[in-house]
Amino acid sequence: MSSVRRFGTLGLVYVVVTCAIWVLLLIVAPMATMIDFAFRPFLPPAQWGGPADVYTLRNFELALGDEFNRAIFLKTIWASVVTTVVTFVLCYPISYLLARAGRSSWVGIAMIALLVPFWINEVLRSFAWQLLLAHNGFFNQVLVGLGLVVEPFDFMSRNIGVLVGLVYTYILFMIFPMYSAMESLDQNQIEAARDLGAPRWRIHWDVVIPHAKSGLASGCIVTFMLAAGSYAVPQMLGGTRSLWFTQLIYNQFEAINWNMGAAYAMCLVVLCVVFILAMMVLFRVRLRDIAQ
């Protein structure tokens, strides 16, 4: 009844209908289709609905049973975890400093400096990194010029290109939830811990991290999911030996085997759900805390 008072009857109908359309059309329907596809065999259109069109786990057996696929799936997991960890380590001090700086004017400047590169499309930014990391690109010229390496370093085929690209591409998705969680921490609590004799790492462990944990968890979740689901970055910055699981999915869809592609995609979805649950356990947060 209170919602009727808040929106009016017509308003309430509008809210309910638009939300229902949003959820059904944009979330439930595509997911249901994907699940349906994933459990059916790949058949020519003539056999659709025929005796061979039955639900089966065959696609999943092929997807993860194959050693090559499984290796790439596992690589995607650990590389995404590494990306998340590296991003976390990079962003934590930046977010903390920004949060502690309060309302000083350089915070605004720093925020804009962080945002500006993201006004450019992800593909173009990946291309820029391709140039920087190329065989005779900027980094190799510097490394060789300084005499640190004899031969130019092959960033691309060693996954380093993908890692650098992913960290760079998704850094904001880590910084912003972290920053906003840390920013709401009462500065006096940091000083109180300090005054009571806590060394700096203890202040972070006892005061800052427990306060900001929902922001830290959602930063990690978003970064991991974006990294694991990234396509452009591995495509452009990965060498021939550093395939990404998304590229396998793409290949299946391109080869018209949508059923197999859907099964691959489902594996990735399940992986992300498992990661979310793991983060919730690790940071001891509830779903509601993360959603904030």
Binding site: D186, N188, Q189, E191, A192, A193, R194, D195, L196, G197, A198, P199, R202, D206, V207, P210, H211
Partner: protein, 365 residues
């Protein structure tokens, strides 16, 4: 138990931020076990002093010593001081007991020691049985006491308090005053208290330093700064005061005659101001008496017109005017037989020469 010499000394301490002087040449020695207050309006530098003692900021000049040792270069986490923040800054995600023993935990005290200390302090602040409560389950006064226990747990030589009562309502504030005072007496720890509330400073402190513009105007006991203010600022900042303009006249019987807006009035002249020098006469509202209750021939009688009379229960506050001069205020205690004078009526009031004093003109609060 502790050596008597553990005094906190500020020696010519100054703090400047660029061109701005927050604290100017402050010197004070606070003996161990004293309840000492810095009293002043906001922006007078008292919080800067507190943060310098606690080690969050370093003085630009001068030194802060504890037990004779210079504290320069020692961070807040290593100083034997504990700070109670204005908003208390309790850790909301820790229980009451975890809050209290946090300082011991980071120092590596054993679980048994922490348990014992928590019990001991919870008893001291009369919150036994609250060990496992969450901070947000406590009332304002209980939080206050937990903050004090958390600071006392590290056994500081000096406890620094940054207006911790300002967020409480009036009743609780008055209760916490006596509570703080008795905690200080029981523990024997030096309390350095920062406040802009003169009532708090006077009620709790052994000594008060009244500050203005980064300087200490006067250091003394509550009665000293109230009854014997050294400057016009102290006279007007601490309590209410009527100020009459004028000049010092001849001295009669140890008291100076002040010739000013309200004629020749007699008052103490603690600064021995020479006759002829401009001076302000200060007399507190509650020192006035209704002249019809005094013997005939009393000095310092003023006949004035009532502008307004406000009954406040314990006292009757009357605003008076004489001719074109500025109004002045008197407060008459309610003895049960007090008629409330109507505005426009004439009233004869007086004060004893010993209850007024003349000071050189200067900035006022």
């Amino acid at each position: 138990m502790t050596p008597v010499s553990r005094a906190l000394e500020l020696v010519n301490v100054s703090k400047t931020y660029g061109e701005v002087s927050a604290v100017r040449d402050v010197s004070v020695a606070i003996p161990q076990g004293e309840f000492f207050s810095f009293l002043g309006p906001s922006g007078c530098g008292k919080t800067t002093i507190l943060r310098m003692i606690s080690g969050f900021i370093e003085p630009t000049a001068g030194s802060i010593r504890l037990d004779g040792k210079d504290l320069a270069g020692i961070g807040p986490h290593q100083r034997p001081t504990a700070l109670i923040f204005q908003n208390l800054a309790l850790f909301p995600l820790m229980s009451v007991a975890e809050n209290i023993v946090y300082g011991l935990r980071v120092r590596g005290a054993s679980a048994a020691t922490r348990r014992r200390k928590a019990d001991e302090l919870l008893e001291l602040i009369a919150l036994s049985g609250y060990a496992d409560k969450r901070i947000d389950e406590l009332s304002g006064g209980q939080k206050q006491r937990v903050a004090i226990a958390r600071a006392l747990a590290v056994e500081p030589a000096v406890l620094l308090l940054d207006e911790p009562l300002s967020a409480l309502d009036l009743k609780l504030r008055q209760h916490m005053r006596s509570e703080l005072r008795s905690l200080q007496r029981r523990t024997g720890v030096t309390f350095v208290y920062i406040t802009h509330d003169q009532g708090e400073a006077l009620a709790m402190s052994d000594r008060v330093a009244v500050m203005s513009n980064g300087r200490i105007e006067q250091i003394g006991s509550g009665t000293e700064v109230y009854d014997h203010p050294a400057t016009s600022f102290v006279a007007t900042f601490v309590g209410e005061n009527n100020v009459f303009d004028g000049c010092v006249g001849p001295t009669e019987g140890g008291l100076a005659v002040h010739d000013g807006t309200h004629g020749a009035l007699r008052a103490r002249n603690p600064g021995r101001l020479a006759p002829g020098t401009p001076a302000l006469l200060f007399v507190r509202p509650e020192r006035f008496r209704l002249a019809d209750r005094l013997s005939v021939g009393s000095p310092n009688v003023l006949v004035a017109e009532v502008v307004d009379a406000v009954f406040e229960g314990m006292s009757l506050n009357i605003t008076l005017r004489r001719g074109d001069a500025a109004t002045f205020a008197i407060a008459v205690p309610n003895d049960g037989a007090l008629p409330i004078p109507a505005p426009g009526t004439s009233l004869s009031v007086a004060f004893a020469p010993e209850d007024a004093l003349v000071l050189p003109p200067g900035p006022m609060a």
